[in-house]
C-alpha cells in the first residue's frame, strides 16, 4: 500500500525550497554589482527583477511553510530535485530579459545547462551580451558545480543532519570532512583558491595574447569557473577558439583535469599525501580510459588524414577528447566540424569519453571513474573465479582513499547507475532520431547532454524542436543528480496521486 504524503512533508519541502530560492537571489547580487560597475543599465533592471522574484517567492514559501523540523531522506531528496527546477526557472529570468533568447524555454535551457555544468547553449548573439549577463551564465555553472542546495544552505545554515541527505541527493555520496557543511565549505575553499590562481594565470596569458587587461581578467575568471566546474560555457561564441592561443588551451586542460578530480583527493593533495594520486582507483582508471579513448580518436583522425601533422592531430584530438572526458565541453573546433571533418571512429572515441566522465565527488557528470573501476575489478574477479579451482577463495581489493574489499553490493550499485546512464543516453538519442537526425549525431548530442558535457555536433540550435529542447533539459537534470532524487520525486508524485 502506498501512503499519501502528509501535509508536514509539503511544508518541510516548501520551507527549504524557499530558503534555497532566497539563496539564488543572493547570488544574483554579484552580476548586479558588475552591471552597476560597467554602467550597464538594462542588465541592472534585469537582475533587480530576478532578485525581486527570488526574494518574494522565497519569503512566501518560508512564511507559509515555516517549520523547525529536520528533513528525512525522502524530503531531502525531493527538495534537491525540485530546487534544481526552481533554480533553473528563476535563474532564467535575467537571461530571458536580456533579449538574447528566442523564448523563455531557451533561457531555461541555458540556465539548466549552466546549473548542471553541461555547456550546451541556445543564446543568440553571444558576442554582444553584457558583462553582467555573461558573468551570470558562468556563475551559475560555478554554483551548480558545487551543488546548488549545499551552496545555498552553507551560506546561512550552521549544520544539521538533513543537510547530509541533500548533499547525497546532489550526487555527492562522499564526505571530505565529517560534517557536511564543513565539507561544503572545504569545497568552497579549494574552489576559491583555484579561482584566484586560475584567473591570474588566464588573465595574464590573455594580456600577453593581446587582450585588453579588463577583458583578459573578466574572461579569465569566466573561463576558470566553467573549466574547474567542468561546464563549458565561454564568454564568446567561438568558445576557446576565440583566443587562438596554445597557452590558453594548456591552462584550460590543467584546470579541467583538476575539476574532474574527487574533492576528497584534493583534500589529500592539500595535506601533502601525493602518493594517493598514484594509488587511487579513480585516478588509475581515469588515466587508462583517457589513453584508450584517445587512441580510438587518434586512429580515426589519422585514417581520415585531415590533420597531417602529428602535433596538430594531438592538439585538436586530445583537447576535444579531454574536454569530453572531464565533462567540460570546451571546443577548439566548430560544432559542425565534428560531423563534416571528423569520421565516425573519432566521434565514437569522444562519445565513449563523454559517457565515462570524471571522478565521483567532483564537478563532472556521467558514469564516473569509481564505478568503472569497480566494474572492471568485478570483471577481473569473475574471470579469475572461472580460471582458478572451485575451492579457491578469491578476494578483490581496491584503493580509494583507503583499501577496501570489493563487495557485491558495491558492484550492484555501480552497475545499476551505469545501466541508468546507458538508458538515459539511448533515450535522448532515440528522441533525436525521431526528429530526423542521424544516429551518430543524435547519440553524440544526447550523451553530451545527459553526461553534462556540452560538446555539440550542431544539433543544439535555436531551430531545434521544442520537444528535443525539453528532452535535453530533462537529461541534464537527471544526469546531474544521478537518478535517485529524481526517482524519489516521481515516487512522491505517485504517492500523492494514488496513495491512501
Amino acid at each position: 500500500m502506498v501512503l499519501k504524503p502528509h501535509l508536514d512533508d509539503f511544508k518541510i519541502i516548501g520551507y527549504y525550497l524557499g530558503k534555497i530560492t532566497i539563496g539564488i537571489g543572493l547570488f544574483m547580487l554579484i552580476p548586479l554589482v558588475v552591471a552597476l560597475g560597467f554602467k550597464e543599465i538594462s542588465p541592472t533592471f534585469d537582475f533587480l527583477i530576478g532578485i525581486g522574484v527570488s526574494f518574494l517567492l522565497g519569503f512566501i514559501l518560508t512564511k507559509i511553510c515555516f517549520t523547525e523540523k529536520d528533513l528525512n531522506w525522502m524530503q531531502g531528496m525531493i527538495v534537491v530535485s525540485l530546487s534544481w527546477l526552481v533554480a533553473t526557472i528563476i535563474g532564467a529570468i535575467p537571461l530571458y530579459l536580456s533579449g538574447h533568447f528566442k523564448s523563455y524555454l531557451d533561457a531555461c535551457f541555458d540556465a539548466m545547462s549552466g546549473f548542471a555544468t553541461t555547456g550546451l547553449t541556445l543564446v543568440q548573439d553571444l558576442d554582444h551580451l553584457s558583462y553582467a549577463h555573461n558573468l551570470w551564465r558562468h556563475l551559475i555553472m560555478f554554483i551548480g558545480g558545487q551543488g546548488i542546495v549545499i551552496v545555498a544552505l552553507s551560506l546561512f545554515v550552521k549544520g544539521f543532519s538533513g543537510a547530509f541527505r541533500m548533499y547525497v541527493g546532489e550526487a555527492r555520496d562522499e564526505r571530505v570532512l565529517p560534517n557536511v557543511i564543513h565539507t561544503s565549505r572545504f569545497i568552497w575553499l579549494v574552489s576559491i583558491v583555484f579561482l584566484v590562481l586560475g584567473t591570474l594565470a588566464l588573465g595574464i596569458t590573455g594580456i600577453l595574447n593581446g587582450m585588453k587587461p579588463h577583458n583578459a581578467f573578466f574572461h579569465g575568471a569566466c573561463i576558470f569557473m566553467t573549466a574547474f566546474d567542468t561546464g563549458g560555457f565561454a564568454p564568446q561564441s567561438q568558445n576557446i577558439l576565440y583566443y587562438h592561443s596554445m597557452y590558453i588551451e594548456i591552462i584550460t586542460v590543467v584546470i579541467m583535469i583538476l575539476g574532474a578530480i574527487n574533492f576528497k583527493l584534493h583534500y589529500h593533495l592539500w595535506t601533502g599525501n601525493f602518493k594517493e594520486l598514484l594509488r587511487n582507483i579513480e585516478m588509475r582508471t581515469f588515466f587508462v580510459t583517457i589513453i584508450i579513448t584517445f587512441i580510438i580518436t587518434a586512429i580515426g583522425l589519422y585514417r581520415l588524414g585531415i590533420y597531417q601533422d602529428a602535433l596538430i592531430l594531438f592538439r585538436k584530438g586530445f583537447y576535444q577528447l579531454i574536454s569530453g572526458h572531464t565533462g567540460t565541453g570546451f571546443q577548439t573546433i566548430y560544432a559542425k566540424q565534428f560531423i563534416n571533418d571528423w569520421n565516425q571512429l573519432s566521434l565514437t572515441g569522444v562519445i565513449f569519453a563523454m559517457a565515462l566522465g570524471g571522478a565521483v565527488c567532483s564537478t563532472t557528470g556521467a558514469i564516473k571513474m569509481l564505478r568503472i573501476g569497480i566494474i572492471m575489478k568485478a570483471l577481473k574477479e569473475d574471470i579469475r573465479r572461472i580460471m582458478l579451482p572451485e575451492k579457491a577463495i578469491i578476494v578483490q581489493r581496491f584503493h580509494h582513499i583507503k583499501n577496501t574489499f570489493l563487495e557485491d553490493k558495491q558492484v550492484r550499485a555501480a552497475l545499476l547507475i551505469t545501466l541508468c546512464y546507458l538508458v538515459l543516453y539511448s533515450g535522448g538519442a532515440l528522441v533525436g532520431m525521431f526528429f530526423g537526425y542521424p544516429f551518430v549525431n543524435s547519440l553524440f548530442e544526447s550523451t553530451s547532454a545527459a553526461a553534462n558535457v556540452g560538446l555539440s555536433c550542431g544539433i543544439t540550435d535555436i531551430s531545434m524542436p521544442a520537444l528535443l529542447k525539453v528532452t535535453y533539459i530533462i537529461q541534464m537534470w537527471v544526469g546531474r543528480l544521478e537518478f535517485m532524487s529524481i526517482f524519489t520525486l516521481l515516487g512522491f508524485i505517485v504517492a500523492a496521486v494514488k496513495g491512501k
Binding site: 538594462s42 526574494f55 519569503f59
Partner: protein
C-alpha cells in the same frame, strides 16, 4: 593592302586591350569569391587553400601578436578568426561588444581548413582589409515596463527586508 594591314593591326590592338582588361581586372575578382562563415565551415574542404573574400563585424579584442594580429569577424552566423599584418588593424575603430557595434570589414585572403601555422585552427590569413562601415556606440534601449516592474520588486524586497529585521529585533 595597306588598308587591310591597318585593319588587322587595329583588331590585334583591340584583342590585346581586351586581354589586358581581363587579366588586370576580371581575373582577380573571379579568383576571390565572397563567402559566408556557414559556407566556410560546412564546405571547408572545398575552400581549403583558396583565396576568398569574407566580410562581417569585428567582435571582441584585436589581439596583436608581434608583427601580426588576430581579429574575430562575425557575419551573423558564426565568427571566424582572421590572421593579418599588424599594420592592417590600424584602420579599425570599433569592435563589437554589448555597448558597441563593431566595424564591418571585408577581408581578402587565404582560407585554411586546418592551419598548419596555428595548431590546426580553421582560419583566414588576410592580405588586405577594408573597413566597409564604421562601427558606433550603441545606446541602451530600456523598456519603461521593465523599469516599473524592477522598481516595484525593489520596493517589495526592501519592505520585506525591513519587516524581517524588525521581527528579528523583537525575537532577540
Amino acid at each position: 593592302m595597306s588598308h587591310v594591314s591597318r585593319n588587322t593591326l587595329h583588331v590585334k590592338i583591340f584583342v590585346k586591350l581586351i586581354l589586358i582588361i581581363i587579366t588586370c581586372y576580371i581575373l582577380p575578382v573571379t579568383c576571390y569569391s565572397q563567402v559566408s562563415s556557414s559556407d566556410l565551415i560546412n564546405n571547408a574542404k572545398q575552400y581549403d587553400g583558396k583565396e576568398i573574400i569574407y566580410s562581417g563585424e569585428i567582435i571582441g579584442d584585436v589581439m596583436v601578436r608581434g608583427k601580426f594580429a588576430w581579429i574575430n569577424v562575425n557575419d551573423g552566423k558564426s565568427a571566424i578568426g582572421i590572421w593579418l599584418a599588424k599594420d592592417l588593424v590600424k584602420e579599425i575603430s570599433y569592435t563589437g561588444s554589448y555597448k558597441t557595434k563593431g566595424d564591418i570589414i571585408e577581408a581578402q585572403g587565404i582560407f585554411n581548413r586546418v592551419c598548419a601555422m596555428h595548431g590546426g585552427d580553421l582560419d583566414i590569413h588576410a592580405s588586405s582589409l577594408q573597413v566597409i562601415q564604421k562601427g558606433e556606440k550603441v545606446e541602451e534601449i530600456i523598456s519603461p515596463r521593465k523599469i516599473k516592474v524592477a522598481i516595484a520588486f525593489l520596493i517589495i524586497c526592501l519592505t520585506l527586508t525591513v519587516i524581517y529585521f524588525i521581527r528579528l529585533g523583537y525575537g532577540s
